[in-house]
């Protein structure tokens, strides 16, 4: 058995490993390497050391988009999870048409980001038009516009995960809590939430990273206007790389920093949430 695994193992893992190397390892290493170089097209580059990283810290637009993104990720994470949980909690109750409601809430997730961005651009501009404004009038408008859009798109998806979590809570436990005279809110707090903690871990992880990585909705809805004040990190990187000749390396350096930030936050969040699960 062992022998044949050694003999045949590469046959089954080979294609996947090759695809993983071509599709992930090579671009990743190349990307990190390029952040230390100056280049116009990726095939011709010259080594410049840490120059790109030095340029990055004097870049006010980048620093602005850093905290703007952090605020965005925080707000959307809280709102999406609260609403998704609340809706899921309602939709696990038995009533007529609950499947229709579930589908309706899930549906926005099936529409692509760019399309969604343009649809919401029309809707929001239509509403703001009553006050002779548009979504790009001010960065605050853009911020809340994107929050609405993001919530609308993501709540349904997180709801599905929460429904799965809630359905796996054993009914005996809830009945037992009821017998012991626990109120509804007490049951929710002390029985249900601890038991769906794994779902909460997954959902907060997804919403935080989605918040940081959001790109297409930002591009379609505000494209950074006005004055690049509504530019989230991913769009900032894109604009640095493509929008400014000679700054390709700086864009690449930003991407590396971006990767580190998202990885660290995701790891910390994951460890924190898992520790709650373990305490059960």
């Amino acid at each position: 058995m062992k022998k044949s695994l050694a003999r045949w193992g590469w046959l089954f893992t080979g294609p996947t490993v090759a695809a993983f190397i071509i599709g992930f390892i090579v671009p990743f290493v190349l990307g990190v390497y390029l952040s230390f170089t100056e280049f116009r097209t990726v095939t011709r580059s010259t080594w410049v050391g840490l120059d790109n990283y030095a340029k990055l810290f004097g870049d006010e637009v980048f620093l602005h988009s850093l905290w703007y993104t952090a605020a965005f990720a925080l707000v959307t994470t809280v709102l999406i999870n609260v609403f998704a949980f609340a809706i899921a909690y309602m939709l696990v109750k038995n009533f007529r048409g609950k499947n229709i409601f579930r589908s309706v809430f899930f549906m926005p997730n099936l529409i692509g980001g760019i399309v969604l961005g343009y649809i919401w651009l029309l809707l929001l501009n239509g509403v703001l038009g009553m006050w002779a404004r548009s979504i790009t009038y001010d960065a605050t408008y853009g911020f809340w516009g994107m929050v609405i859009l993001m919530c609308w798109q993501q709540i349904g998806y997180m709801m599905v995960i929460y429904i799965a979590g809630l359905q796996s809570v054993p009914t005996e436990l809830i009945e037992a809590a009821e017998m012991d005279g626990a109120s509804k809110s007490r049951t929710l707090r002390s029985v249900i939430i601890p038991l769906v903690m794994p779902s909460i871990t997954v959902c907060t992880f997804l919403t935080i990273t989605n918040g940081f990585k959001m790109f297409d909705q930002n591009l379609a809805l505000t494209n950074g206007a006005p004055s690049r004040l509504s530019e989230l990190l991913a769009l900032n990187i894109f604009n640095t790389f493509y929008g400014r000749t000679g700054f390709e390396g700086v864009g690449q350096a930003k991407a590396v920093i971006f990767l580190i930030i998202v990885a660290v936050i995701a790891l910390v969040q994951n460890r924190f949430a898992r520790s709650k699960e373990a305490a059960l």
Partner: protein
């Protein structure tokens, strides 16, 4: 044992086949067209003529059998598209730069054009851009003109009114007169059946270049003229920015829309406002002819006025004429492809089909001597010819020396903030003057 070995060999063979198949799939694109004749891939800058180029390329392929692909970048995304296309193995053989600054960005990728037909046929060979050692690197293929396009029918209707500021369009030859006419038309917009004197000054990326680049050229032109600046200066000053503010105020305060809505307005909004006769004035150029004609505005009603900003001597200035469309050939393409590209360009400017398409379908005024019999019918081009015939000096295109896209964006964003009332004019001046110095420093420091 033997059997097993054979099975291993077959399995290995299949894996390799599957992998190479997948890899070959990735590189299919460049293997098909690499025949000895070479092929042409043109990345076109001008979305207005996107379909015309595709049609012209198809005719060339039919005539000669040489494959010509034309792609057009969406408005405002040329540099982005070019950058990603150039990184591909199937890169454009022919692309465009917008002038000396654009050429500097791509100087490692451009081939010498000294021995090409497009260089030999230039009316004035000094308009080509050259490298440090005098090699010819970029050749303009179209000469364009911009100013304030106006609807003669609406302006004439205004001139009929009792309190008209002037009695003839010809009297408009300075900022004060122009501004009086614009304000008069705006005040009478209901009588004239229009929504505003000017079309919306949209700041969507499809439209903001009209202000951050083309309008910004006017104060630059007068400053360079007054101070005798040639080439690209390291610093500029604010001597004509008051005029810039005055004309911009006129645009936003006498328009079809409220200034606070400008951030979302696109070029299509402005085009349709003008084309449907809802506005009398529209700052744009000869290339917009196709977008504004053929609907409510008759060709004979299309005219163009120079942009006045209150500078001394502007009575004698004409429309802004120049080029920001230079052809360059990619020196990384194979020899055969470069030759094929040169042949294609020669055909474009010498054959009847090519000349007819450029002059009549695309409506270009070209700098080539082969076009003597192909004068364009575009009324906006004719307006420029009238100013030249009347002895007016054309305003040159100095925006080709603007230090970077970033500079233009800085000015554009400050202008928008000023327009919608969330920023001060000072910010525009800072972006204009200080921004120039710092961007120049970054690019050349």
């Amino acid at each position: 044992m033997n059997k097993r070995r054979m099975a291993t060999a077959i399995a290995a063979g299949m894996t390799v086949a599957a992998l190479t198949g997948a890899l070959a799939g990735c590189s299919n694109g460049d293997s098909t067209g690499s025949d000895a004749e070479g092929k042409v891939y043109y990345l076109n800058f001008k979305p207005e003529q996107a379909e015309d180029w595709v049609a012209l390329a198809a005719e060339y392929t039919e005539e000669t059998g040489v494959q010509v692909d034309v792609q057009t970048a969406a408005s405002g995304t040329y540099e982005t598209t070019l950058k990603s296309e150039m990184a591909k193995s199937n890169a454009p053989t022919l692309f465009q730069v917008n002038g000396p600054v654009g050429l500097a960005n791509w100087k490692d990728y451009v081939a010498d054009l000294s021995d090409t037909a497009i260089y030999e046929h230039l009316n004035d060979q000094s308009v080509a851009l050259t490298g440090d050692d005098g090699e010819v690197l970029a050749i303009p293929y179209v000469q364009e003109t911009y100013g304030i396009i106006y609807n003669k029918a609406i302006v004439n209707a205004y001139l009929e009114l009792d309190d008209a500021a002037v009695s003839s369009i010809d009297e408009i030859n300075n900022f004060d007169t122009f501004s009086a006419v614009v304000e008069g038309i705006q005040a009478h917009k209901a009588d004239l059946g229009i929504e505003g004197a000017f079309t919306s000054a949209g700041f969507d990326s499809s439209s903001d270049w009209r202000f951050k680049t083309h309008l910004a050229n006017i104060p630059l032109y007068w400053q360079f003229k007054a101070d005798g600046v040639t080439g690209q200066p390291a610093e500029i000053n604010d001597s004509y920015l008051d005029g810039y503010q005055a004309i911009f105020d006129l645009y936003i305060n006498n328009a079809t829309v409220e200034p606070s809505t400008l951030s979302g307005k696109t070029i299509e909004d402005a085009n349709s406002e003008f084309a449907l006769g809802k506005a009398a004035f529209y700052q744009n150029g000869t290339w917009a002819y196709g977008d504004v004609s053929g609907q409510a505005v008759a060709d004979e009603d299309l005219g163009m006025l120079p942009i006045y900003i209150g500078a001394d001597g502007e009575e004698n200035s004409g429309l802004a004429t120049g080029s920001e469309n230079y052809w360059v050939i990619n020196n990384e393409s194979s020899e055969a492809d470069q030759e094929a590209t040169k042949d294609f360009l020669e055909w474009v400017i010498t054959s009847d089909t090519g000349r007819d398409s450029l002059a009549n379908t695309m409506g270009f005024v070209t700098p080539f001597d082969t076009f003597a019999d192909y004068l364009p019918s575009n009324p906006l081009v004719l307006a420029d010819a009238e100013y030249t015939a009347a002895g007016k000096t054309a305003v040159t295109w100095n925006f080709t020396v603007m230090p970077s896209e970033e500079w233009k964006n800085g000015v554009g964003q400050a202008l928008l903030q000023y327009a919608q009332g969330t920023g001060e004019w000072d910010a525009v001046e800072t972006a204009f003057v200080d921004g120039w110095a710092s961007e120049y420093q970054l690019a050349n420091g």
